[in-house]
């Protein structure tokens, strides 16, 4: 048996498959330089190379592939937002997730199990009614459910009848789901690199050379490259990166903390989220219960976990599912979220003609990975911002057309 395995390993018929080739030397010029090798940057590279015929692309990643917020988020996919602009955008994101495994020929383990958001107050229930009405109007599956239906959807929930945190109802979003974050990034990376996109890991952008209102060259710690166009998609580092190009984005960075329990047998078949408790839970395909997400209450670039935030998350989780009290925590982490004043992302043009922004992804970036990649590729290839992205422009902070997205997150609203 070991010998036959060895023979198989060296066989020419079944050569080892490398999803992503080793990092090549930097060329002197690329048509498109994507700064940030996370989900968004890799998705954009995939769509540029597959649908727009642009393959002279370099993705520059400071660390390792998808090791930033792509690895740190809690993989919630949903479109139950409240602004029509937000819902339309995220709805396209969910639809792209539904087809992603086929698109990428890579199993991203998309599981469309539905998301249940809980209301403990009448005020929350009223906001759910608004979200459900807007969501149904725009063609998403979003509805308000009563106590009986909540119990049916998640029978192990502590309803707290008569208690201070009695669950009065919920927002049931059948389109909601989850996917494997590494697979999403690797799927896009594998597809893009097969078409000639170069992925440069451990390559840090240090400065921009700007003249005539354009980015001429990008300096990295591995050499300087010229570019036709460039895009910033560096997650928690977006503010610092844009500042290097002389652009100050309206972003403040906060750590968002999450954690997972030891693996359990499958028991939680929906995503459960509580607005009042600032806690949400999802069981991963490994059986671990992912619990998120507490934002630190002040600006910080440190990804250290804090005991008070973990206590808060654990308290919320145990309140919703009391039997979790005996379960041990396995891992904990934090990611740096780049929060915008209106909880909507910043996509599209920057003050520089050939520099594009894919920023301000705060706590809502993972679900937008495919749609942001697709639409930013369209923007870069065509040189104009498509209508679906126009409401998310940086310009909105000058013209006071903010897009207040109160459905953005269970973490910090």
């Amino acid at each position: 048996m070991p010998f036959s395995l060895l023979k198989y390993g060296f066989s020419r018929t079944y050569p080892a498959r490398y999803d992503i080739p080793p990092t090549p030397d930097l060329k002197r010029h690329y048509d498109v330089v994507i700064i940030g090798g996370g989900g968004h940057g890799l998705a954009c590279a995939h769509y540029l190379s597959k649908y727009h015929g642009i393959t002279d692309v370099a993705v520059l990643e400071k660390g390792y592939l998808a090791g930033g917020n792509t690895a740190r988020n809690t993989t919630t996919i949903r479109s139950n937002y409240i602004t029509p602009e937000g819902i339309s955008f995220y709805k396209e994101g969910v639809e792209l997730y539904e087809r992603m495994s086929q698109e990428l020929d890579f199993n991203v383990m998309f599981s469309q199990r539905g998301q249940l958001t809980l209301a403990h107050t009448e005020a929350t229930l009223r906001s759910f009614k608004a979200r459900a009405a807007m969501g149904s109007h725009l063609g998403t599956r979003t509805e308000v459910v009563d106590q009986k239906e909540v119990e049916k959807l998640s029978p192990l929930l502590n309803m707290d009848y008569g208690g201070p945190l009695e669950i009065l109802g919920g927002l049931w979003h059948a389109d909601g789901g989850t996917a494997r974050h590494d697979a999403v990034a690797w799927g896009y990376a594998a597809q893009a690199s097969r078409r000639g996109v170069e992925i440069h890991q451990r390559t840090e952008v240090t400065a921009f050379e700007i003249s005539g209102g354009r980015v001429q060259k990008i300096a990295t710690d591995r050499g300087t490259i010229a570019c036709g166009q460039a895009m910033i998609a560096t997650g928690g580092m977006n503010y610092e990166m844009a500042l290097k190009a002389g652009i100050e984005l309206p972003i403040r960075c906060y750590p968002l903390q999450a954690m997972v329990t030891q693996p359990l047998k499958p028991w939680l078949d929906t995503l459960v989220s509580s607005v009042s408790l600032h806690t949400y839970l999802v069981q991963s395909s490994r059986g671990e219960v992912v619990i998120g997400g507490g934002s630190d209450p002040y600006q910080l670039y440190s990804t250290r976990s804090t005991l008070d935030m973990k206590e808060h998350l654990a308290a919320g989780a145990v309140h919703l599912f009391p039997f979790l009290q005996n379960v041990r925590l396995l891992r904990q982490w934090a990611g740096i979220t780049d929060m915008t004043p209106d909880y909507s992302p910043i996509m599209g043009a920057s003050p520089l003609a050939n520099l594009w922004l894919d920023c301000g992804w705060g706590t809502w970036g993972f679900k937008a990975t495919p749609v942001a990649g697709k639409r930013m590729a369209e923007t870069i290839a065509g040189g104009r911002v498509p209508d679906i992205l126009k409401p998310f422009s940086l310009e909105r902070f000058r013209s006071f057309r903010l897009l207040n997205e109160m459905g953005a997150t269970a973490a910090s609203h």
Binding site: E240, Q299, R304, D308, P341, R398, S399
Partner: protein, 88 residues
């Protein structure tokens, strides 16, 4: 337990404090363009490193300023706005 030094009440548990974000200059609204006003409203000092920010000791309602490193979370010093003439 994390502690923060209130200039009036001394070292207290961080739970007693509320962050009010980085210090920002208020431009004269009469002489400011819409774009500059937007910049004033929405921009915030978000650099890595030491920033100056407003804090409030909630039980005693004392507003004060802190110099804090946003990479290490180390508080360099805290002081009352009277020393610089700033207003929250």
């Amino acid at each position: 337990m994390k502690l923060l030094a209130c200039p009036v009440n001394g070292l207290r548990n961080i739970d007693e404090f509320q962050s009010f974000g980085p210090l920002r200059e208020t431009p004269d609204p009469e002489k400011t363009s819409d774009a500059e006003w937007g910049q004033h409203l929405f921009r915030a000092d978000n650099r890595k490193g030491i920033i100056v920010e407003w804090w409030r000791h909630v039980p005693s309602n004392v507003f004060f300023l802190a110099e804090r490193d946003t990479e290490s979370n180390e508080v360099v010093r805290t002081f009352l706005p009277a020393e610089t003439g700033e207003r929250p």
